[in-house]
Subunit: 512 residues, 2 copies
């Protein structure tokens, strides 16, 4: 892991919108007040804190101690042991300050106490001494703001060829176009990334300057990038001056391979792109959604101070900071137990919780894989790679073995005569399918529904692109989307009920 050196100036990566934002003269007045506490202010129109009707708050949370606290929490339900996280002005002055600062208009970067806590998480799991945190409203909002900060109409961003749709849609909405990069069981393929950047046709527009990826337990393919691939991707980003947006919600959910030696030491947390970043080109997003609860709607960016300043400006001018309630809850939950009467978990408790959570999800992944092997894989009609992180198993349906699998006549016809020359001369904007894979997969999806189960069809994750940026002669993605995404984030009962049905439907489907 590298120690971060002097960061580059990344001004050229900002969208004109971010740069042209006009100054706000009122902010100057407010800054004046904040920087000169001796001034008597008749200017600041905030409602007076003495009128805020909230005095204290208290939350009952899981006890993260014990051998396997998540297992205990799930097994014992309402009788599981709990701890109390509170902020009570009657108990100490620090809590009084915290409640007061959480209930008034705050700073776009987030509550100082929470910034300190997530800074502590960063220091524990990453090596990034020169990057700084900015509290986000969890990653959906975090990414929406990033696209606005980095992208202008007509820009191109790079992403895995399968990706979580809403993240990409957020960029579509203001005119950014996506360029898909090939992905395999090991995640994004560095050679394809390099090809796309090296051979970029400037006639299309500016070369992509943003790469969006989910390095651990990628949604939907479940793949995790090896350290070797990460280093290679970072090098390519340096050569072509690309910003890496590292969206890493599944970072804490790391699993050993099935049948790993149970006495071997627990698999370490991976080296993040953040830890590799010496240029300030990595923007990392973390979230409490997957390791605590999505309804909290709190996460954090970790970036160079340069991007931090622009993000804070964007936050101050749009959503503002997240609600003070989840900020206080998380700040107190993660505060060192001795530093605050309200503290409960501290960072050690957080670490125990996420390590227990990964064991819990690992057991569920193993259950799904066992059920899959017994009811689906044994037929030879589908296969799946065991994911080493995240929540998803990406099942490949061996559609080419289906009795009705066919290359399309139209597709074959297109390979001859003047049609073929036109096809070679112009990259098709929407390449025609060469097989009936899509139709068959739709049939399969419908058959699952009729049998009472829902899976996510692979094509639902195809990154929306205007053109086919694949290598000449490559199979179009529509003909490679013979996948369904399944998840082990549901209950054991759901998996035990659903997977046998999936196997039965699959076998019936391949009969005709």
């Amino acid at each position: 892991m590298a120690v971060n050196a002097q960061f580059k100036d990344m001004t050229h990566h900002l969208s004109p919108e971010t740069i042209r934002r006009k100054p706000n003269p009122l902010k100057d007045t407010i800054r004046l007040i904040l920087e000169n506490p001796h001034l008597i202010s008749l200017a600041n129109g905030d409602p007076h804190p003495s009128t805020y009707p909230v005095r204290s708050m208290e939350f009952e949370v899981a006890d993260p101690t014990g051998a396997d606290p998540v297992a205990t929490w799930r097994a014992l339900g309402l009788s599981a042991p709990t701890l109390r996280v509170s902020a009570d002005p009657a108990s100490n002055a620090a809590d009084a300050m915290l409640i007061r600062s959480s209930m008034r208009y705050g700073h776009g970067a987030g509550l100082k106490e929470l910034c300190d806590a997530v800074g502590g998480i960063n220091a524990r799991y990453h090596t990034a001494p020169h990057h700084v945190p900015t509290i986000s409203l969890a990653s959906a909002d975090g990414i929406t703001k990033l696209w606005r900060m980095l992208g202008a109409v007509g820009d191109y961003f790079l992403a895995d060829e399968y990706t979580f749709g809403p993240m990409a849609l957020a960029a579509d909405a203001h005119g950014v176009k996506w360029v898909p990069v090939r992905i395999d069981a090991g995640g994004l393929i560095p050679a394809d990334l390099e090809r796309l950047l090296r051979d970029w046709d400037d006639g299309l527009g500016r070369r992509p300057h943003v790469l969006y990826l989910t390095p651990c337990g990628q949604n939907p393919t479940g793949s995790t990038l090896s350290l070797e691939r990460r280093k290679r991707i970072y090098e390519i980003a340096q050569v072509y001056d690309v910003i890496i947006v590292e969206d890493d919600p599944y970072y804490f959910l790391q699993y050993d391979l099935p049948n790993a030696d149970p006495s071997a030491p627990e698999k370490p947390f991976p080296t993040s792109f953040l830890s590799l970043d010496v240029d300030g080109r990595v923007i990392r997003l973390d979230s409490f959604s997957k390791v605590m609860a999505p309804g909290l709607r709190v996460g954090w960016y970790t970036t160079s101070p340069f991007f931090h300043a622009h993000l804070v400006r964007l936050i101050d001018n749009s959503t503002q900071h997240p609600s003070g309630l989840p900020q206080v809850f998380l700040a107190q939950l993660l505060a060192p137990a001795d530093a605050s009467a309200g503290g409960a978990w501290g960072l050690d408790g957080f670490d125990r919780w996420v390590r227990s959570l990964r064991r819990d999800y690992q057991r569920r992944r193993d259950l799904l894989l066992r059920l899959f092997d017994a009811h689906v894989g044994a037929s030879g009609l589908a296969s799946a790679d065991p994911p080493e992180a995240g929540m998803f198993v990406w099942i490949r349906v061996h559609i080419e073995r289906h009795p009705r699998f066919a290359r399309r006549a139209a597709a074959v016809g297109e390979t001859e005569g003047p049609e073929r020359e036109r096809a070679v001369a112009h990259r098709p904007r929407t390449p025609l399918p060469q097989t009936n894979t899509a139709a068959l997969m739709n049939e399969f999806f419908d058959a699952c529904l009729r049998a009472g189960i829902v899976v996510c069809p692979g094509w639902a994750f195809v990154t929306n692109a205007e053109e086919d940026y694949g290598e000449p002669g490559a199979v179009p993605i529509i003909d490679r989307s013979n996948f369904v995404r399944t998840t082990f984030s549901g209950s054991e009962e759901t998996m035990e009920a659903g997977v046998p049905i999936l196997g039965r439907v699959l076998k019936e489907f391949f009969l005709a």
Copy 2:
């Protein structure tokens, strides 16, 4: 108050960005799951609710009963009586459901229980049986989203000529231009609004289709629109098919005029534009920021079902819903006391709180006005209209009585010869000042700072416009910005210390 009739289709008011947003195939899968609860889902990748480590929450809040609960709350501090608002699965099944739905990914419209509560507030203070609420992340975010929904690059929106800067800046950021409407002590002047729409030069672009206003306690001028003006503005909006964005954070802070008969019945809450809306053209924004605490970051839109659907889509694809913690807190706080073990205030308690809050702010307004009369107004060098709502007193400095007040030579010169003809033929994009008002007001502002007080200079609120849309021959706004904004939202001590200094500085300033 009119009963709402059939609403118009407002599709033509949406920005292309809102309309062009691509469909999200994943949403179809999720909808399928939600609409068919009998299906076994291996599709939905939400973290499992049994792993969320939050069991219960409890908040200690002000007791809203008693003669003047806000006064009690402020006077007694930590010994003031409190009530407990809680959500505890151990106490009842409804609370268990509430915690569970608040902690998972929720609906863009907001938590159902909170939608019900704010729907109850709407029903109590407005007449709008056909409009529906959408929970917002308070009004700064609410407005940012509205501009995105309604405005495209090159569009024009109408606003008061003085307005709260950050709200307008949010629209600047994506290329919407502002057209300022004249404002006086009674708020926006309907005749000027009509002139701007009637005489709109189509050469500039599409006629403005959005009017942004703050009808009560306008920030910064403190003005409140009469029912007569509201009706006239609504009629004009009907004629020119304009959407009215009614941003009304100060609605609940209504004051009697100073020296009103104390035995007279309390002034009623005003009739909102929402209550006048028969077309579905009013989009109302409410917020808990001014009547509870800004740090909650929760408010709500009230709109036609048509705009609701588009807002939900925008929320789902960007910030998502507000955090579950403030949503649960507010839902339980406002729930009928008998309907939930956790309920505390109910809507009656909310009503008692806001009526006590307005008395509290009214006392502070009266204090500021008394101090003003004694230390500033008595000099005859400045004057102020008593605001009937909100938090601000807009002080007019009688700058034309200043010994160094002067009409600019350049300004005079421009009124003659060919220069004058050019000026008449082309509306100046940035009209030149005709007096030295701006320079003198800056001097005054600096003198205040040197004396240890901060006020907000009036020019900081001038709505940013590219051109001068004023009536021919009208005085440019730069020459009419002889105002400072002061507030009574601060403490009594601040006002008692600050206003005498303001008076002294003003008198000294007028000596030279």
